[in-house]
Structures are given as structure tokens and as C-alpha cells.
């Protein structure tokens, strides 16, 4: 008896168009997706002077100027800022911090101050303009 040879299996659908489409999708996602992680600081937008009245304790004032940071009338180096804020937190964890930004100071410096305050544990933070603080 003569048995017919089994036909060689062939792929019914060509893979090439699939590869084309997958490549295009890959290139799209490579170009369009970003891997930047965003985060944010919650900041009060206080009414002028209103937030300060009911507090009996004097808030801690951190001045952000074009030259650098100032606290209690002495300038604070950027590296020392974190230590100073940690000291303030150790003395009184509930203390309010006012970050007072001068005109011309970049947002970067304000964010560094907020970052230091958050790292030290201070939670009650407001950002103010220079003349509002009195």
C-alpha cells in the first residue's frame, strides 16, 4: 500500500505584517512614553495675614532670598538648612514654618526649602510673600 506523505506544515498566515505593526507600536510607545515620576507638595494659599492671628506661638520664619536662605537674621547655607529645620522640629514638632520668598528668588530655592521641611517632619508650612510677613 502506498501511504501518502504527510504534507509539510506551512504557516497559513504570514508573520511579516504582524511584525510590522508590532514594530510600529513599539516605536510609538518608546517615543511617546516618559519615565519621569512626578510628586507634589501641598501648599496653603493663605489669605493675607489671616492665617497667623489665632496662633499664640510665633511661627518659624525662613527667608528665601536671591543670595540664599536666612533664618532669625542670620544667613543659612543650603547644606545647613536641613539641620536647622530638624533642630526646629526637635524643639517643637507642631511649629508653623513660614517660607518667605523674596522677589527674584527662583522657584527651585523655594522647593528646596519645602523639601527640607518635609524631610525634617514639619507639616504646617505656608509660602508667603515678603511684605505680608510684616
Amino acid at each position: 500500500m502506498r501511504i501518502e506523505e504527510a504534507p509539510r506544515r506551512r504557516r497559513l498566515v504570514s508573520l511579516t505584517p504582524l511584525i510590522d505593526v508590532v514594530f510600529i507600536l513599539l516605536i510609538f510607545f518608546m517615543l511617546a512614553s516618559t519615565f519621569v515620576e512626578w510628586q507634589a507638595f501641598g501648599v496653603d494659599a493663605p489669605a493675607e495675614g489671616a492665617a497667623e492671628q489665632e496662633r499664640d506661638q510665633e511661627p518659624l520664619r525662613l527667608y528665601v532670598t536671591v543670595e540664599g536662605y536666612r533664618m532669625d537674621d542670620e544667613s543659612v547655607a543650603e547644606e545647613a538648612l536641613r539641620g536647622r529645620l530638624e533642630e526646629a522640629y526637635a524643639a517643637d514638632a507642631e511649629r508653623r514654618l513660614l517660607v518667605i520668598a523674596a522677589e527674584g528668588a527662583p522657584v527651585r530655592a523655594v522647593i528646596r526649602a519645602l523639601d527640607g521641611a518635609a524631610a525634617a517632619g514639619l507639616e504646617d508650612v505656608a509660602v508667603l510673600r515678603e511684605e505680608e510677613s510684616g
Binding site: 508590532v22 510607545f29 512614553s33 501641598g42 520668598a101 522647593i111 509660602v127 508667603l128
Partner: protein, 134 residues
Amino acid sequence: MKLPQPPRREPEENVIPMINIVFLLLIFFMVAGTLEPDSPLSVDPADSEQGAELVDEPLRVLIDAEGQLAIDQDVVDDREQLRARLKAALEEAPERPVEVKADAEADSARLLDVMDDLHEAGAERMQLVTRREH
């Protein structure tokens, strides 16, 4: 003369490992990356170590390095327009969170201007966006 038949071409055979890898890459970029909406201004926020998660579907205010403002997808010419837009948006949804993305080099006075406008429009809190530092 009897010529040997040319061997059958089977190009699909060695393509499969490549497809596997391309699929893996595609899935990686789809899952790990995030697609971001097109931004009307080019804004490069500062880095920070600390910070909270971003909120969903906020009202977005952008401040670029030159101090130009934008809200959601539209560039606004001045603070007057920004205030009007903010007021309209917050009247529609008073509880909508507000996210401010300011360039690291922008003047902090500009940020404070925006915060005043936010306050006037009725937003008590806002989120200041930063990039996560590793």
C-alpha cells in the same frame, strides 16, 4: 540536464525569537511608561526627595521660566485672564484640586502671584509639582 531543485525558503523559522523580544519590549514600554498630555508651555520643575502623590484630574496651572502662564491646555496672556479662567473653573467644580507646575528657574514672585489668584478664585490649597529625585 537535471538541475538540483533550489531549497525551499523558510524565512519564518528564525524570526520567532525576535518577535518574542519585540513583544516583550512593547509590553515593557506600555506598562512602565506613562503617556502624558501635550503641554502648552515647556516647563522643567525642580527636583525634590520628599513629596506626596499627585491627585487625579486636577486643574493644571503652568508657569514657565519666563513667567508665562497657562491653565489646562491654554496659554493665557496675563493674570487677569488666569483669574477669570480659575474663577470659572472653580465655580463649576469648587472642590477640584489645583496643581501648579512651575519651572525651577521661574521667579517665586510669579508663583506667589498665582497663589494669590488661586486664593481669590476660592482655592485654599494647591499642589506644587516637583520631579522625584533618586
